[in-house]
């Protein structure tokens, strides 16, 4: 399996168990929706995969690379996993272009520019490259955050409640766009939501996490 998560457990302190013995298998290129009530620990799963939190036990393997087990704990910057945060986390002091280019230090200047253009075209926002995040609408911010996460060609991409900051009308329009973009890149994806409609419309597989 492309993503192999086994018996993952996590808590913030001894009294609050957030995640117990969580396991998940995902095929390459699949979009998986993790659905559940707020506070059920679904966002924590994403944070554990990225390495922003450390599990107390379990094993995480992606593309045959061990992220976490008894002996290993790769830092986030070594995991090659992209993430779109709930509030998008676009760097407010950088333009759209700089935001998208942020994770592309390993490329030459020309290749970097080409990759940024490619991504901005993919999300349909080439004309906004000189804008700052505060000059974008909610939907545009989300697409730029997605472009930024996809730019370094991550092994997988994680989306934390991608629609929670969008208006209902915008949400309906953007769901299909999002699915199309992810499918076009072929990247494996997990997204977390509390809305079954979101999950059914976008995901190949829905996992109910309670």
């Amino acid at each position: 399996m492309f993503v192999d998560i086994q018996s993952l457990s996590f808590d913030y302190d001894k009294h609050t168990k957030v995640l117990t013995e969580f396991s998940l298998l995902i095929k390459k290129g699949d979009i998986v929706a993790l659905i559940g009530r707020s506070g059920s620990g679904k966002s924590t799963v994403l944070r554990l995969i990225t390495g922003l939190e450390t599990p107390i036990k379990g094993r995480i393997t992606v593309n045959n690379k061990v992220f976490f087990d008894k002996h290993t704990n790769l830092p986030p910057e070594k995991r090659n996993v992209g993430m779109v945060f709930q509030d998008f986390a676009l760097f407010p002091h950088m333009t759209v272009k700089k935001n998208v280019a942020y994770g592309l230090d390993h490329l030459s200047k020309q290749k970097k520019a080409a990759r940024v253009n490619e991504l901005l075209e993919l999300v349909g926002l080439s004309h906004k490259e000189k804008n700052y995040p505060h000059q974008l609408s909610g939907g545009e911010k989300q697409r730029i955050a997605l472009a930024r996460a996809l730019a370094p060609k991550p092994d997988m991409i994680l989306l934390d409640e991608p629609f929670s900051n969008l208006d209902t009308e915008l949400k309906d329009a953007i769901r299909d766009q999002l699915k199309a973009i992810i499918k076009q890149t072929g990247v494996t994806c997990i997204f977390v939501t509390h809305d079954l409609k979101d999950a059914k419309q976008i995901a190949d597989k829905v996992i109910n996490h309670t």
Binding site: T72, N73, P76, E77, K78, N80
Partner: protein
């Protein structure tokens, strides 16, 4: 890759090193407490200790009440009332922070002395009463008028967050203006008021210049006295331990007064409706605010300018230029070190989950609550030991080396500054980090950037204004600092603060005026920059 490596970073390393360096001098002090009591200590305990405790408590109580009243009501007036020159006055009210208490003390003592300008003025109008400025009450007044800006700034920030809806509800419930003040404004501002008074009291405990000059026998006076006049370090250590107990009691009282309630500001914040005072009201407001400003800043400053003309003093002598350079170089160096360490600790702390890690962060920022005299004792003891330990190494480089190398160098003084002022730098930076949250940093990590790269590319640009504020606040404090500098400076090394103190101690008040004025100018400029700092267009929303 080993499991710990994901968590361990340069921030962790710097935090742990700082913790050790903070704890070593204090634990050294603690262990020295268990040495057998000598005759000097028995003498102090029998004849002097009660007076030290009584004077310290009285000074703290009076200063707390006066500064609380001045700070609270000045903040109240500029927040709730609309009047001409309000903006200017609300900025000017911060200015006394630029005037070190000891400078105000020298100037007022001189003005109130028999030949002083104020005493002569009173005699000229037929008042022959002699005000004894150089007393405990005089010291409390000086501290209150120079330190109240701590209360003023915190209360003003707190009052600004008050919601008009609360006042409107109280009005509909027929609460009188006094009842609204007593039941809403006062309790809602209590955390800020108590927090501000705590800062004033810690500064009062830290002071040496005022109490030494006025001869008020409180603890910082006693520590210096035991150490330098009676020549007994072990008694100074015991007195220091009692001061630390005092600090803990004050902090506990502050916690108790602040209470467990946390007042959440209602969302959908409705701006305050400002009151327009009557003509009489306006006169009272102007009289109140201008009196505070005159006493707390302008009278001493103008008197110093007059002093300069009286003695025909050269403003910039070669010695003074060296002193200014010394002050700027050591203050900037220590501030930069503090900012780097505070940045590392804040970074370590914001992602720390365990109680141990949070405890470590608290430990590293102990210094500000410990008075300068106590830090001086601890640091001197510590560096003497370090020098003893490193002596074989010194000998490798120079066979005729002196025993105390670090102890007689600026390293020790810089170390002491870091120990004392790290808290201020840390708190300001930490508050900025709290505003931006952790997601920008986390987003950067997921985009394959290391912690250090993230710091420079994301964190620092986003908290830039907080960093500048931290730099300015720490810098001002170090420029003004007296007790640490006085004890730990190498011989023949002077800063503006020590120069002012030495002139004043030698009854050369007029000569003290030039360095004192320069010191004030050096602190006023950053205060102006800090209060007029504009936020960039891309600031975090």
């Amino acid at each position: 890759m080993k499991k710990w490596s994901a968590k361990f970073s340069i921030f962790t390393a710097l935090t742990l090193i700082t913790t050790v360096l903070v704890l070593l001098p204090f634990s050294n002090l603690f262990f020295n407490l268990f040495n057998k009591a000598n005759d000097v200590w028995i003498h102090i305990r029998t004849f002097l200790l009660f007076d030290y405790i009584k004077n310290t408590v009285l000074l703290l109580v009076l200063t707390g009440i006066f500064s609380g009243l001045i700070g609270f009501f000045s903040a109240y007036v500029v927040t709730f009332y609309e009047f001409k020159y309000k903006k200017l006055l609300s900025w000017l009210l911060i200015l006394p922070l630029a005037l070190p208490s000891y400078i105000a003390a020298f100037i007022y003592a001189d003005m109130f002395s028999y030949t002083g300008s104020f005493a002569r003025l009173l005699r000229a109008v037929g008042i022959h009463h002699n005000f004894d400025m150089m007393s405990l009450l005089g010291a409390a007044v000086i501290f209150s008028f120079t330190l109240y800006p701590y209360v003023y700034m915190l209360v003003k920030a707190g009052l600004k967050k008050h919601n008009q809806t609360l006042t409107d509800s109280a009005k509909l419930l027929k609460a009188s203006p006094f009842k609204r003040f007593r039941t809403l404004t006062l309790p809602l501002s209590r955390p800020a008021l108590i927090g501000g008074i705590l800062l004033v009291l810690l500064e009062t405990l830290n002071d040496y210049g005022v109490v030494r000059y006025f001869g008020v026998r409180v603890f910082s006076y006693a520590i210096f006295d035991a150490w330098f006049r009676l020549g007994d370090l072990s008694s100074a250590i015991r007195l220091s331990a009692i001061v630390v107990i005092f600090v803990f009691i004050i902090v506990i009282i502050e916690k108790a007064f602040r209470g467990k309630k946390s007042y959440n500001i209602l969302k959908g914040h409705k701006p305050l409706r400002l009151k327009h005072p009557t003509k009489t009201g306006r006169i009272i407001i102007y009289f109140f605010l201008i009196s505070i400003l005159l006493i707390g800043f302008f009278i001493p400053t103008i008197e110093m300018i007059f002093n300069l003309f009286t003695i025909n003093f050269t403003l910039f002598s070669v010695d003074l230029i060296y002193t200014i350079l010394n002050t700027l170089i050591i203050s900037i160096t220590a501030t930069l070190i503090i900012i780097v360490i505070a940045l590392a600790i804040a970074n370590f702390g914001r992602f720390a989950k365990s109680k141990l890690a949070k405890g470590i962060v608290k430990l590293t920022t102990l210094g500000y609550s410990i008075p300068g005299a106590v830090i001086a004792v601890s640091v001197l003891l510590f560096f003497t030991k370090v020098d003893g330990f490193l002596y074989p190494l010194y000998e490798l480089f120079d066979k005729d080396t002196k025993t105390l190398v670090l102890t007689t160098s600026l390293v020790m003084l810089t170390f002491a500054y870091v120990l004392r002022f790290l808290t201020i730098g840390f708190n300001t930076i930490d508050a900025s980090y709290e505003k931006i949250g952790t997601t920008y940093t986390e987003a950067s990590y997921t985009l394959q950037k290391s912690k250090l790269k993230t710091l420079f590319l994301v964190d620092i640009p986003l908290i830039k204004s907080g960093l500048i504020a931290a730099f300015i606040i720490v810098f001002i404090d170090i420029v003004k600092e007296l007790p640490l500098t006085l004890i730990l400076r190498p011989s023949n090394y002077n800063t503006l603060a020590t120069t002012v103190f030495i002139y004043a101690r030698d009854e050369m008040i007029q000569e003290a005026s030039a360095p004192a004025l320069i010191l004030i100018i050096i602190t006023v400029i950053p205060i102006y920059i800090l209060t007029h700092q504009k936020r960039g267009k891309n600031h975090v929303r």
